[in-house]
Symmetry: C2
Subunit: 301 residues, 2 copies
């Protein structure tokens, strides 16, 4: 029954249409003025394509909870700005020292290290301004909650904390599953969860709905990372748009290195099923979020 | 008459008492948990002393506009977090490559470059969360305004934009006064102005008061930077807590290099007088902000 519903929902068209909406809003979000190099660098990384998974989750969750696309679009854009900031800083020579991202040269390879650091900083700060200035038709109290969640998902309690533990674990052969879970629940999971939760907060969702969505998001967040690890092993540079095999090269402990590829695939599918089970009581309106959960394991990049 | 008032106001005791309040609040703002190195690094730079000028301006402006210290303290702390983020990133090897700050080794000299970058990121994001979560007794609509102003003061439109132009101008002998003003109104002025304005917004100040304070802040912001440039020429490392003579070494065009020391001193005094003139109609309650304006030119670090 559940599977039939999802087959009927045209996820590919849905994702493509939402990605276009998000891309158009992101395109409008930054105009190049003096000092041009900074704004160009922000646009270079922000408009480099990408799945726009975080914005799409935010929009879907807002509609799921009874809100409109307009209510969530500024926060959706802000989430992509924050994600882009984290990619730029993670790719820096002092961090993962990566040359390619989203099929293009990384920011510091094009603009140099100082501008890359500052571009990340500018995107991070602008994300908060953008939510506060651009959101229309939403009570201020909800915006304050979104700002609070977003800050928490980025700071030491979120993706920055995850990146620190990731750096510390590099080259260590004895990283355990608890550490690996900490890294990913912070580095990837926190912002994915905030993407889902913030959409629902903007729509004025009640606690029951927020708690369901929070568990949904935690499950797909972990599934997403397991699939990322799998793709790093089996994907090609062309498919991924970034350098594959980086984890192994950096001697990083990953889910496939702990569990093997097959068991990793099985676990990610199990997590997606758990995520979907959280929303099954909500009927048809949960279709997009259910389909996105399926997309997490089906994706090739 | 004006001068008599200010002599009666004990600025030294005022600043010292406020600094203690701010330091105590900052001390409570970060608890060390896993991953410890990140939280320790945040505390290392945030609690390294400093004048706490931005928090003190925010508190003073909130009281000036009829608010309480409690209303403004979370924003005051957030402003110091943002200032500290900007110092950590400005000091990085890829930027100004500075070894000392506030009389101590810079963050990256102690924790290394990756942690220093991430510490700045964490402080920046936490600042927004801190305002949103910790502020009590203030309507949410005012918090949204503060978030908007703060984001604007940090991003490409604020201190990050100023730092980019500063980097671009390094070693150029033909930097003109317009570029120098752009650098400082963005790199230093924007956050100082937001410190003053945010306190008044939290207190619910009307537009007339906000505009006066905005001009007051613009004047003292520029005066502050001119004095900074002067101190870089005539100060000692012991007094400054950071390496003096850096500007000349980096062949930076500064106000003293354009105008000479005496003319720079005269201009900074003129700006302080203009700042004070904006507040003269408000009587005794403007005393702290007036005295802080005087302190800008009188300070030795």
């Amino acid at each position: 029954m559940l599977n039939t519903q999802i087959i009927e929902f045209d996820l590919k068209a849905y994702l493509s249409q939402r990605r276009d909406l998000v891309d158009a809003a992101l395109e409008r979000s930054i105009t190049v003025i003096y000092p041009e190099v900074l704004y160009e660098s922000m646009r270079y990384s922000l408009l480099a394509g990408g799945k726009r998974l975080r914005p799409i989750l935010c929009l879907a969750s807002c509609e799921f909870a009874g809100g409109t696309l307009d209510m969530a679009m500024p926060t959706a854009c802000a989430l992509e700005m924050v994600h882009t900031f984290s990619l730029i800083h993670d790719d820096l020579p002092a961090m993962d020292n990566d040359d390619y991202r989203r099929g293009k040269l990384t920011n510091h390879k094009v603009y140099g290290e100082p501008i890359a650091i500052l571009t990340g900083d500018a995107l991070l700060a602008y994300a908060f301004e953008f939510i506060a200035v651009q959101t229309q038709g939403v009570p201020a109290s909800r915006l304050v909650q979104v700002v609070s969640k977003l800050g928490h998902a980025i700071a030491a309690t979120g993706l920055v904390g995850g990146q620190v533990v990731d750096l510390q674990s590099e080259g260590l052969q004895n990283t355990n599953i608890e550490t690996l879970n900490f890294i990913h629940s912070h580095k990837t999971g926190a912002l994915l969860e905030t993407s889902v939760i913030s959409g629902a907060i903007l729509a004025g969702a009640n606690n029951e709905v927020l708690q369901r969505l929070s568990r949904y998001a935690a499950y797909i967040g972990l599934a997403f990372q397991i699939v990322d690890d799998i793709l790093d092993v089996i994907g090609t540079q062309e498919e991924l748009g970034k350098t594959p095999g980086k984890d192994q090269q950096a001697q990083k402990v990953t889910y496939p290195s702990l569990w093997g590829i097959e068991e990793s695939k099985r676990k990610s599918q199990e997590l997606v099923d758990l995520a979907k089970a959280e929303l099954v009581d909500f009927g048809d309106k949960a279709q997009p979020l259910m389909a996105i959960a399926d997309y997490i394991t089906a994706r090739r990049k």
